[in-house]
């Protein structure tokens, strides 16, 4: 399945924040969105999720124009892993993951056996089955993130939008999340995630997208990310080098201080 935005103009009411957005993502690939704080990544994500309608332009799913779909229909193809999640009440992990089934359950309905099976599968896929009866609010940040990703899996959408999945996680948990993202890619899900570290894009062999001064720059393969580009976006000097030891071979970023 292919998700495509053509000539998108994004913003609130009449205020344009991003113009000329042309992106394309396939299931089974990762798109890393980078850019400085306040460049418009949040607006970009809200538009992807259908929360914020495009000012102009079209959204296609394969070759079907879905620009006019309502938010409910959007949520059956794109799920969302927000950056921060706070529940005003404490739910168990299983209950949180079950919420991912909402779009498939009618207004006065409640989860069926099948929904529970799907939620259980999602927990097992994320390898957090042992947490299922724990209270969500008592988990660590890394565990919470895993649970929210499991919820997105239970939604059974083809694409997952992750808003800075690694933010405020310790180093180990960041790597674990990136690993999980790669596993999801192998399960032929399309993942669109924002990150502040170009290294994450290198680790995922992702496609890169840079949001900068009201524009979305499509870089394509992250191998095309250059030192001069990073300098332009982040305003600091960054060297890109090839790291190679036994079978670990990939590009790395080295900021010069």
């Amino acid at each position: 399945m292919k998700f495509r935005i053509e000539n998108g103009v994004m913003g609130y009411d009449k205020k344009v924040i991003l113009s000329d957005v042309n992106i394309e993502i396939d299931t089974g690939s990762i798109l890393c969105v980078m850019g400085k704080n306040g460049a418009g990544k949040t607006t970009f994500f809200k538009s992807l999720l259908g929360v914020l309608p495009l000012i102009s332009g079209n959204i296609f799913l394969d070759d079907i124009n879905v620009s006019n779909w309502d938010r409910k229909k959007f949520s059956s193809i794109i799920s969302y892993v927000p950056q921060v999640h706070s529940f005003s009440f404490s739910f168990s992990v299983m209950e949180v993951v079950l919420l991912g089934r909402s779009v498939h359950i009618n207004l006065f309905g409640s989860p069926s056996k099948k929904d529970k099976m799907i939620a259980q599968d999602a927990l097992k896929q994320m390898k957090i089955w042992h947490l299922k009866d724990r209270m969500f609010n008592s988990l660590s940040g890394g565990e919470q993130k895993m649970v929210i990703v499991a919820r997105a899996l239970a939604q059974q959408a083809s694409f997952i939008v992750m808003d800075e999945p690694t933010s405020s996680l310790d180093f180990g948990n960041q790597i674990k999340i990136i690993k999980q993202v790669r596993d999801l890619q192998d399960k032929s899900l399309g993942i669109i995630m924002s990150t502040h570290s170009p290294d994450h894009a290198f680790m995922c062999d992702a496609h890169a997208l840079i949001v900068d001064s009201n524009k979305v720059i499509n870089i394509g393969d992250c191998k095309n990310v250059t030192e001069s580009l990073l300098k332009k976006v982040y305003g600091v000097d960054i060297l890109i080098d090839e790291f190679s030891r036994s079978c670990h071979k990939r590009k790395v970023c080295v900021p010069t201080i």
Binding site: G50, Y80, F91, S110
Partner: protein
Amino acid sequence: MKVMDLIYKRKVISQTLSGSYVLICYIGIIGILLLSIIFSLCLGRYNVTPSEIISTLFSGEESPFISTILFNIRLPRIMMAILAGGVLTLSGCSYQAVFRNPMVSPDILGVSSGAACGAAIAILMSMSSLGIQLMSFLFGLLAVSATFLVSRVLKRVNDQILMLILAGIVISSLFGSMISLFKYIADPDSKLPAITFWMMGSFNSVTMENLKGVLPVVLCGTIPLILISWKLNVLSLNEDEAYSLGINPNTIRIITIFCSTLITASIVSLTGLIGWVGLIIPHFCRFLIGSDNRILMPFSFLTGSVFLLWIDNISRTVSTLEIPIGIITAIIGSPLFLFFLSKRRKDF
């Protein structure tokens, strides 16, 4: 209090909630409710033993005296206490889910002050008890509708929930001052005591007919609330997250507020104002059984029933003069509430 401490400790240590624990809680509360009903039937000025109740209920040999006491006096009252406790707690739970705040009580949008105002007008106009009931019901709904309208007019601020609460405060105090006005002009020998007594809440005058009249309305509100309870969990998330899960939070909010207002108004119109129940019982139940509304709401209903049944037992037996329900719920409720607050945890 010792028992509660143990419950808290258990939950803090394990921080888990398993299915069998939930089942035990349910069996426990149903058992307590049944025992409380039997005990309450025995309780009163005239002593009836449990064996007499059983023989009156199941075998033909009944003394007309005992059956009159049981079926015409005690049973309607007990059933009303159960229904009122359950309904007020359920609507408290729903309101708390809608407003994402465990400290919200069902009268936050003005249903109680509206109902009280309606009752005051009806008493002032010397209406029948049915008239009082209808007037307070209608005014309860009117007040909440007014709150809704005001919050819509003040739409300029983004936060819809905050606007609702602020509008609720304004409407409540408006109706409150109207009540004061009616009290001021009411005949101090007959009408004023009636208004005052109504506002303190009582099951004194409840009959089987009242119950039959209010039951359909209560069911119309309660059944959708129980059915929608799972979707209420989604309201605990922020707007964007709810939408991305395919849920329109506003639809759920409006249905829930409508149903809870309907049932609260119908109960309050019969019993007068009964505070605290809708605030502390959901609170207590959430400690005990977690926040999943699908499990929490029926459980709260049962717990609220037990609570108000015992409050009523105290009300009618502790002295020769019946103590109004609303006063006892406040006397017992406020220290309990403080106790719960002091036990409040991070993950709650």
